[in-house]
């Protein structure tokens, strides 16, 4: 392959030899140049991300969602429908009466224990059928306090 190239007003006569050869011989005017083509590196193996579900929900630190959830250990055999005392203490406030409808997560009484007024909540919606406590009463560990029957 022969061509004429002009660089900054000066003309060169260029002759390029076999492009598949190694080296490729290039003649510029009378000057012989050897060009050693470099093998292009093989493309890196890219690992596609695992297409499985997001491992952990990414909730932002700026929008924390403290969601109250009933604990399995607060349900004892025979007290499935009761709010029980998670720690021993003194009842300071009872917020519901027999016949009241309560919703999930509603605060039904306040238990003062371990230097804290702990709100105790309904684990499921229903009707209050029994209130076994009154303010000022001492309650034991895991004592049933308020019975909430599911509405049929």
């Amino acid at each position: 392959m022969k061509m004429k190239l002009s660089v900054e007003g000066k003309t060169f006569e260029v002759q390029v030899g076999d492009l598949t050869a190694n080296p490729i011989i290039v003649m510029i005017d009378e000057e012989r140049l050897e060009v050693w083509p470099v093998e292009e590196p093989a493309p890196a193996i890219v690992t596609p991300p695992v297409t499985s579900p997001v491992a952990f929900p990414k909730h932002s630190a700026r929008v924390p969602v403290p969601v109250w959830k009933p604990r399995k250990t607060d349900v004892l055999p025979g007290t499935e429908n009761s709010v029980i005392a998670p720690i021993p203490g003194v009842i300071v406030e009872v917020n519901v009466a027999v016949g009241d409808h309560v919703v999930y997560g509603q605060v039904v009484c306040l238990l003062e224990a371990m230097k804290m007024r702990n709100p105790l909540r309904a684990a499921k919606p229903g009707i209050v059928t029994e209130v076994k406590i009154k303010p000022g009463q001492h309650v034991h560990y895991h004592e049933p306090l308020i019975v909430i029957m599911p509405e049929s």
Binding site: M114, K115, Y141
Partner: protein
């Protein structure tokens, strides 16, 4: 084109047979249960194309009982190595389609060889568990096989991270292997762990219980505290495993890998300045404090639904993995009971094994009082917490956010248990006991001789509160390194850990400690 060498063709045929595991019918049955096969799981766990299987042609040898069983190459487990995010990992995946993934002599040998390789090369070991239990046909050989695995689980504990992913049944003695490992992930719906199954329990005690209630995911996540993470599906569990390993070094010599973070280290969080209510009797949510302190979205809570009065988990701060321990004042006032002590102790030791620094957020009114707790041994359980903290040689930073009373303050990484930097928020209350209790002991005579006993007790308690319900008394005695504004906590903690990065705290020579259990 020349004819392929028949020997090559035979190898290809053998490889295909290995790949099919227990055959199409059993693979279909596995899929019908919503489960993936052993090899499908491996493909999802490791980086694409990086898994290399070992000993695929091993098959069971003994047949003492004379039960003719087809020899399936590979036996009940697939073992090999691969990479997760480019880092080497050794994996075994029990194949339920081959004899129910039961434990045979050869299965055990394959797993043990893999464990030895993982240790020698300082790379994490992941077990994908889906097994019907011991292979009864092999008798004591199968039991010996378990023991070989347990021994390695125990001896390699603390050298390389070990994760057990429960993707199917794991019954009887087999359940001990995951129990020794650092992390257990259970899949909801089709993973079970128990020592004695529902049938045995019904025969022995008469109790009627199904496998899910006895040892399913929810049970071990919320009641027994055996499992650390719950996954919705096989895919989810494997993605969790990949994610969790990014917080761990490959072995106990390396430091945990840092990850670039876009969350500025000097981010001030104004909301933290008002997160602790003025009234010390009103609870707040410590989880929110954690979420606000750590790199955005990096919080991975361990055992989120068990012993919720304590919180434990890994996060990144300034890109660097940090173990976080704290109380949750909105649950049981943040008291430490037996379960909470177990949870904290185990987590602190997990971090210490793998050079992960520990941040402790203290808001505990004390240990849970009661006959039940005392009789069940809260002394030895509570002692574990202080043992773990005192033993841990990683960088330790603690922050008293509010209540730090009595023994609960001492065991939760107090300064002289070896904590490197101790901070307090202005809301901190550090005292031996609460005001009312203290004045009743200190000023018993003064109160009894007073005209108005109630008013005198109240006055004295108020005086006590003024003196102790702030961090300045502790800071004046040098028990607190500094009192900081809550909003600047993130920066203070990150800078503290950077200053402590090259901490060296050699353990006195000994065989091992004797922690109360």
């Amino acid at each position: 084109m020349s004819q392929e060498d028949p020997r090559i063709l035979e190898l290809r045929a053998m490889r295909e047979k290995v790949r099919q595991g227990g055959g199409k019918a059993r693979v279909d049955a596995q899929h019908a249960k919503g489960k993936l096969t052993a090899r499908e799981r491996l493909d999802l766990l490791v980086d694409k194309g990086t898994f290399h299987e070992l000993e695929p042609y091993v098959s069971h040898q003994g047949d003492e009982l004379g039960i003719a069983m087809e020899r399936i190459p590979g036996d009940g487990v697939v073992t090999g190595y691969g990479k997760i995010e480019g880092r080497p990992v050794y994996v075994y995946s029990q194949d339920f389609t081959v004899y129910g993934g039961t434990m045979s002599d050869m299965v055990s040998r394959k797993i043990c060889r893999l464990m030895d390789l993982a240790l020698r090369n300082g790379a994490p070991l992941v077990g994908l568990i889906d097994s019907g239990g011991a292979r009864i046909q092999e008798g004591v050989k199968s039991l010996g096989g378990y023991a070989e695995i347990f021994r390695r689980n125990a001896r390699y504990s603390g050298c390389i991270p070990q994760i057990s992913v429960m993707l199917g049944p794991c019954a009887g003695g087999a359940a001990y292997s995951p129990a020794i490992t650092d992390i257990i992930i259970m899949v909801k719906g089709h993973s079970y762990m128990f020592l004695t199954g529902p049938d045995v329990i019904r025969a022995v005690t008469g109790e009627v219980v199904d496998a899910e209630t006895l040892g399913g995911c929810e049970t071990h996540m919320s009641i027994s505290g055996t499992s650390h993470f719950a996954a919705d599906s096989d895919e989810h569990a494997l993605a969790m495993t990949r994610d969790l390993l990014s917080y761990f070094p490959s072995n106990n010599i390396e430091n945990p890998p840092s990850a670039p973070s876009t969350d500025p280290i000097d981010r001030m969080d104004e909301a933290l300045n008002s997160i602790v209510p003025i009234d010390p009797m009103v609870p707040y949510v410590m989880h929110e404090v954690v979420e606000r302190l750590v790199d955005d979205g990096s919080w991975r809570e361990f055992q989120p639904t068990w012993a919720c009065n304590a919180l434990t988990g890994l996060a990144r701060m300034g890109g660097q993995p940090v173990g976080i321990v704290g109380q949750e004042p909105s649950v049981m006032a943040g008291v430490i009971d037996i379960d909470a002590a177990d949870k904290i102790c185990r987590f602190v030791r997990t971090c210490d094994c793998f050079n992960i620094p520990i941040l402790t957020l203290i808001d505990s009114p004390g240990f849970l009082p009661g006959v039940d707790q005392e009789h069940r041994g809260i002394i030895r359980h509570g002692a574990k917490v202080l043992y773990a903290y005192a033993e841990a040689s990683v960088p330790k930073v603690s922050i008293v956010t509010r209540k730090a009373y009595g023994g609960a303050y001492v065991v939760m990484s107090s300064k002289y248990l070896g904590t490197d930097v101790t901070y307090a928020w202005p809301s901190a209350e550090i005292a031996v006991m609460g005001a009312e209790g203290a004045v009743n002991i200190l000023f018993k005579k003064q109160i009894e001789s007073a005209l108005d006993k109630v008013a005198e007790a109240k006055r004295l308690a108020e005086d006590y509160r003024k003196r102790f319900n702030n961090p300045y008394f502790a800071a004046a005695s040098g028990y607190i390194d500094d009192i900081i504004e809550p909003r600047e906590t993130r920066l203070k903690v990150i800078e503290a850990f950077r200053a402590l990065r090259d901490k060296s705290s050699p353990t006195p020579p000994r065989k091992h400690g004797n922690m109360p259990v």
